[in-house]
């Protein structure tokens, strides 16, 4: 089938089976290879993108369901400059091997931009909240501490604007 999808703000059309995964269409058809495949089972969060503004696992979305909808991938987070979350991940050292990083950046950007973390509270409660919200993004390298630091730092920066 022929589909119209808005990807990172630009209208795109693709011709493919409605059963194709959004993940594969992004990587193979649209050459947006920033989105990674980890498990293919919705467990690891590496393939997280925004679909109509919600963070979702793109390995679990049939492309037929995306006709007429909008998708934001890690390539679409930076607008002129890097997103606050991307800068904070760099500054805090919140990335190592990098496979989980695009998914974490997208999910964390959603968390920060939607105000899901109370940035005024940089303490234990806010850190626990970040851990709960990022629980669907597995990282085998960092031990998460520096990722949580980065999300808190980005939330503070966005709240201060």
């Amino acid at each position: 089938m022929r589909l119209a999808v808005e990807v990172n703000g630009a209208p795109r059309t693709v011709e493919c089976s409605p059963w194709s995964r959004l993940l594969d269409v992004l990587r193979d058809e649209l050459r947006l290879t920033g989105t990674k495949e980890g498990c293919g089972e919705g467990e690891c969060g590496a393939c997280t993108v925004l679909l109509d503004g919600e963070a979702v696992n793109s390995c679990l979305v049939a492309i037929g369901q995306c006709d007429g909808r909008s998708v934001v991938t890690v390539e679409g987070l930076a607008r002129g400059e890097l997103h606050a979350v991307q800068r904070a991940l760099v500054a805090c050292g919140g990335a190592q091997c990098g496979i989980c990083t695009p998914g974490i950046a997208v999910c964390a950007a959603h968390i920060v931009d939607s105000g899901l973390v109370d940035a005024a509270d940089g303490g234990r409660a806010a850190r626990d909240r970040v851990r709960e919200l990022l629980a669907g993004n597995l990282c085998r390298c960092t031990g998460y501490q520096l990722i949580v630091d980065a999300v808190i730092a980005a939330a503070r920066e966005v709240a201060a604007r």
């Binding site: 089938m1 089976s17 409605p18 059963w19 995964r21 594969d24 293919g40 089972e41 919705g42 467990e43 969060g45 997280t48 919600e54 963070a55 979702v56 696992n57 390995c59 679990l60 979305v61 049939a62 037929g64 369901q65 006709d67 999910c107 959603h110 968390i111 709960e132 919200l133 990022l134 629980a135 669907g136 993004n137």
Partner: protein, 278 residues
């Protein structure tokens, strides 16, 4: 290979007609179960896409019951003030289903249709004595949730039917409700044991109770022996009666995620805690 068909109805009548016309098509909402390892699964003959079908995306609040559309996501459940207030165990379960990305897509109707023995919301629907409303071109009917599951991942849903909503009675003010899951990790991991209860109290005496367990049998189950054992008992005493009744009543499954012995111990502790003093 021929491409699967695809339909995205926007009205319930249209969806029911499509279901009747294409009984072999996959009914897809959030896809969090049906799309797992999609590239290694048989390609469906067609996809009937019910994601955000308006007739199934609602929460209707009345004094005695809350109707929750089948297309309501766990994210929607979690942030709905009336559900959080009055159906607390359902909101608690929603918070521990998958994680943010899963909660944004997974629906109540999907949980009920897939009918996995480890579906996290299902013991809650049993404990709250929910009723499902299903529809087909032949009309609407209601099914008490306790009669819904007919076996391992099988339900009463007929081949031409779709799930419209769950009608969930609101527990009275003197009813204690609870939900608890035990697994390797709160998020994402599949539960080893989960339980839910609705306990009607007169002071500290149990008037009646509904107790449900998940991940224990081939389907989510009510534990009638516990419900009988606790009736008329004071909290605390009821906890010990419930513990003994669980031990005698259940034959937990033994699988990769846990052993029968561990599940039995945990189920006992979990149910006993539901009936403990404060």
């Amino acid at each position: 290979m021929t491409e699967p068909g695809y339909l995205r109805p926007r009205e319930l009548d249209e969806a029911l007609a499509a279901r009747a016309a294409h009984p072999d098509w996959m009914v897809l909402a959030g896809g969090t179960d049906l799309m797992v390892n999609a590239n290694h699964r048989p390609v469906p003959a067609g996809i009937l896409d019910l994601w955000r079908l308006p007739a199934t995306c609602f929460v209707r609040v009345a004094d005695d019951a809350i109707a929750i559309g089948a297309g309501t996501t766990w994210h929607d459940v979690l942030r709905h003030p009336a559900i959080r207030d009055r159906l607390a165990p359902l909101a608690a379960a929603a918070r521990e289903i998958g994680a943010l990305q899963i909660q944004a897509r997974a629906t109540l109707g999907g949980n009920v249709a897939t009918s996995s023995p480890v579906g996290d919301s299902l013991p809650v629907l049993l404990a709250l004595d929910a009723e499902l409303e299903v529809a087909s071109v032949r009309g609407h009917r209601r099914v008490p949730y306790h009669a819904w599951c007919t076996g391992y991942r099988t339900t009463q849903l007929a081949g031409d039917e779709l799930i419209v909503c769950a009608h969930v009675p609101v527990p009275g003010p003197a009813t204690r409700t609870a939900w608890r899951k035990v697994g390797t990790r709160r998020a994402q991991s599949i539960s080893k044991v989960m339980g839910a209860a609705a306990i009607a109290l007169d002071g500290d005496v149990v008037v009646s109770a509904r107790v449900a367990l998940g991940a224990i049998a081939d389907r989510p189950i009510r534990v009638a022996a516990v419900e009988a054992a606790v009736r008329g008992q004071r909290l605390g005493d009821a906890a010990e009666a419930a513990r003994a009744a669980v031990r005698a009543a259940i034959q937990p499954i033994d699988d990769v995620r846990s052993t029968a012995a561990y599940r039995r111990d945990v189920a006992e502790n979990l149910v006993a805690r539901f009936f403990s003093v404060a």
